[in-house]
């Protein structure tokens, strides 16, 4: 299960090409004795319309994998594709544009621009691009996340859960190819977490959005359709149709 050939990425249903894939990814930090191989030959693909979770203990490389897949960090060797575009061939300007147009982001914290209202934060990527947002789509998103009464509020006037739902709506607003969420529930209580995760799952189910989430929380991972387990920079396991208990069980095995 831990050997996955680059040509036929695991768990990609049918002939659909992955929305994003990484081939033989290696990421090395530092030099000499201080060298750390954060990614050590990872090959992975994320199918369209699938909700994937990347799990692993601290230092397993899960965040690095996400950053590299999302064009936020560069890889030492290997290839990253978003759609048909190979990221290492892009300069900063093209990477910025790719992030703007093809990728949605949800971070653990500090997801919103404090000077902008919730509504302005949601349309920010389109405003940056100078595009007119798809009003109907944005309205639908706002209703789905249940934020209509709070639209004119600044982030400082919203609860943590509300802020994260705004961030989720923003990630989807520009209809990106893929949404990357980095510990989106890391700072939230269980009720707020459930709201955010529910929304992400709904976006996959109803809007066929592709979502990749990094988390260390088995409950969060259980919302995904598929979980990829990382340890020491390698993919060590994979699970489809996860439940919190099964994920927790699997995690215990690496912990030791």
């Amino acid at each position: 299960m831990s050997t996955i050939s680059p040509d036929t990425p695991a768990s990609v249903p049918g002939s659909t090409r992955p929305m994003a894939r990484g081939v033989d990814l290696v990421k090395v930090y530092g030099e000499g004795d201080a060298t750390v191989r954060a990614l050590d030959g990872v090959t992975v693909g994320f199918a369209p319309g699938q909700f994937s979770a990347i799990m692993g203990p601290s230092g397993s490389g899960k965040s690095t994998l996400m950053h590299c897949m999302a064009g936020l960090d560069s890889i030492t060797s290997g290839q990253v594709y978003v759609g048909d575009v190979e990221l290492s061939s892009l300069n900063d300007k093209e990477l910025t544009r790719l992030r703007r147009d093809k990728i949605g982001f949800i971070f653990q914290a500090y997801n919103l621009v404090p000077t902008l209202s919730a509504a302005e934060n949601i349309t920010l990527p389109m405003d940056i691009a100078g595009r007119t947002p798809d009003r109907a789509w944005v309205d639908q998103l706002i209703d789905t996340v249940g934020l209509r009464p709070r639209l004119s509020h600044r982030p400082s006037e919203l609860s943590g859960g509300q802020q994260q739902r705004v961030a989720a709506a923003r990630a989807l607003a520009s209809r990106p190819d893929i949404v990357f969420a980095d510990e989106p529930t890391g700072n939230l209580d269980s009720r707020a977490s459930a709201e955010v995760l529910g929304f992400l799952r709904k976006s996959v189910a109803e809007f066929a959005q592709t979502v990749v989430m990094v988390t260390h929380d088995p409950v969060a991972a259980s919302y995904a359709e598929r979980v990829v387990f990382l340890a020491d920079g390698r993919i060590v396991d994979e699970m489809t149709g996860p439940t919190a208990d099964r994920v927790l069980d699997r995690m215990k095995h690496f912990g030791g």
């Binding site: 910025t96 500090y110 920010l124």
Partner: protein, 846 residues
Amino acid sequence: MVHAVLKGIFAHKLRLFLTAFAVVLGVSFVAGTFVLTDTINHTFDVLFHTINAGVDVSVRAASGFGNDNSTGTSRDTVSASVLDTVKKVPGVAVAEGAVGGYAQLVDKSGKAITTAGAPTLGVSWTANPDLSPLRLRSGREPRKDGEVVVDAGTAKAHKLAVGDQVKILFQGPSENFTIVGVTGFGSADNLAGATLAAFDVTTAQRVLGKVGAFDSIDVKATSGVSTLTLRDRVAGVLPPGVEVVTSQQVADESAKQVQQALSFLGTALLVFAGISLFVGGFIILNTFSILVAQRTRELALLRALGASRRQVMLSVVAEAGVVGLFASIVGLGLGILVAIGLQSLLKAFGIDLPTSGTKVLPRTVIVSLIVGLVVTVLSSIASARRASKIPPMAALQGAGVEQGGSLRRRATVGVIVAVLGAAAMLRGLFAGGSGALPLLGLGAAVVFVGVALLSPLASGPMARVIGAPLPRMAGVSGVLGRQNAMRNPRRTAATAAALTVGLALVATVSVLAASIKSSAADVVDKYLAADYIVGASGFNPTISTDLAARLSKAPELAAVSALQTGEWKSQGQTRTLDGGDPATLGQVLKLDVTAGDIGGLSRGELLVDETEFKDKHYKIGEIVPMTFARTGTQDIRVAGTYAKNDLLGNYLVSTATYDANFTDRLDFVVLAKAAPGVAPATSRAAVEAVAKDFPNVDVRDQAQFKKQQEQQVNKVLGLVTALLALSIIIALFGIVNTLALSVFERTRELGLLRAVGMARRQVRSMIRGESVIIAVLGAVLGLAVGVLFGWAIVAGLSDQGITHVVVPGGQLVLYVVLAAIAGVVAAVFPARRAARLDVLAAISSQ
């Protein structure tokens, strides 16, 4: 703790540099001013002592002013016969009489050779080299009438050589001379920028109007006779009204005179240096406020680990102290460069001062270091106090934002401070007295503090209005830039406040200048009847009396009247008076004699300006004891009063009375009125025909005269603006500093924006927008305050002939545009930093 402070500072070298820069510039201005004035003073000191080096004692007429601040040229002359008396005194080795006065050389193209303030001297050649600093470089000394020796500086600059013919202007008719020699002053080419023409004694006495007399008799003692012995012996044989002093005293007096004349310049420059420091203080205040806010967690951690409030407070003050000391030392070093720059600046505006060597006195070092240190530490105290109030719990919470007292309290305090400042200004303006100017300055400073306290209340809404066009111009970058400018009103206001000070002062002088210009034109219409104004083109108002004499003969002119001006003393106060010809004065000036009669002037009596008459409680017929340098105290009767005339001073005597009491007889202006029925072109030609023989004068009609006055005002405006430029530059660094700190503080936010697709160009545009808003905000506030200041000052000067307030709207708009451009420039560095942030590092930073 000390270790922690130093570590903290050196960990942030850039921050240190940016903070220190404001102080560096201000201190360098202070140091530069001291270095420049000390160097000039020293130069003159050396010069005067060199000139008098070979002389032991000098005999001269006693001054009616005493010897405290007597001006040498104002003394009476000594009869030539005194020389023979002095020569017979035992112990006198050599004694020679000397005369000096006005003699202006004319260059080969027929233009009068002018200086930028130094005199154009004519002197008698001293035969004995021991008594004179003059050393021939080429040719020989002047021996007879028609021969002249010129100084090497002038000869070089104007390509004059031995054998050349040269025309020379005197207080009487001009004459032609042959250059027979070129002289230096010891090894120098000229004397502090003065031009020199040396004649044989008899010729000098004739052309300088001192036939049979000397200005001074210079004496050298035989060996073995001390200077003091010689002085006392000579004193014994002198007639009344003639005194003998050591050459040391003469040199000291001359040097002191120059020092006094320059002390105004030094004070003025220090005022501008003070403004720079004041602005620098604002920036330090703001910077430390931001730094403390950003370091809330760090400082709270120190508290949690057991540091006392006092220690936290001291750690901030200590950081300010280190920054201040460092900045003062750098500023002191830069001061020497600034001195050179200031000298060039003054030169560009026509004030040329000689310097040799660079004089850095201990006073300069001490004052510069103390000033820099004190300004920095004082400016940090508010932030230090706030730092000390950070609770240890803050270490566990997120980084805070700047906090201060409630805005309501701030508003109350701000209003009170501003009103107090305004009251001080108004008192300074309208109460008069010797403390008026300092009071005005202090009041203005207090007003600025008040405005700075109040401005956070207005900065939010103002930033919204000023930034209104940005969203349309720059899209989302514009929106965000505008929001950023509004998000922390205190910070935006404090940053803008530094610029407010500089621009308020620029606006003040602009309003003042525009008002003076406009009023000056009025003054000409209201008080001048003459068609032509003939004035000296150089710095020194020196017109030969021959000019007026010859113009009087022109049939095309109905009236010609020359004015003289001089100083006199009463009860220890120096005042000025004007001399004029009672017969013609009323035809060239609109002189309104309101009491008594103008005929009194011809009887040697005095006319007094109405207002002055009332202020000093004079009565018609009262005898005023007027003290003159040349003639001592004279009793002069008040003949009457005249209505205010801005072209005249407060006291008017006849030219005859003037001549009787002043030595040098030169006019400062000659006014001429065309005869009735003569075409302007004809009358002008008549004036020009005479004036062409006096290359140092310019002929102007009323329109040209108005224009010239305008140009003079513009010149002063230009100089003042240039001197204020430094404080504006400091304020711009304040914007750079604030933006850089804000960028640092918003690292994560910038990372987020970049992650969701904001391009570097857009990030830069966003920072630029914020910068422009801050700059324009500061400018607009400053211009508003400045217009009010200008208006108040003009109102205070209404009795000085500045009658109406003119606000130069176009100029003010231009300043706003320049401020916006400056904002763009100030944003370059912080914007680049923001755009270059590593996205991933920025998102993951704490």
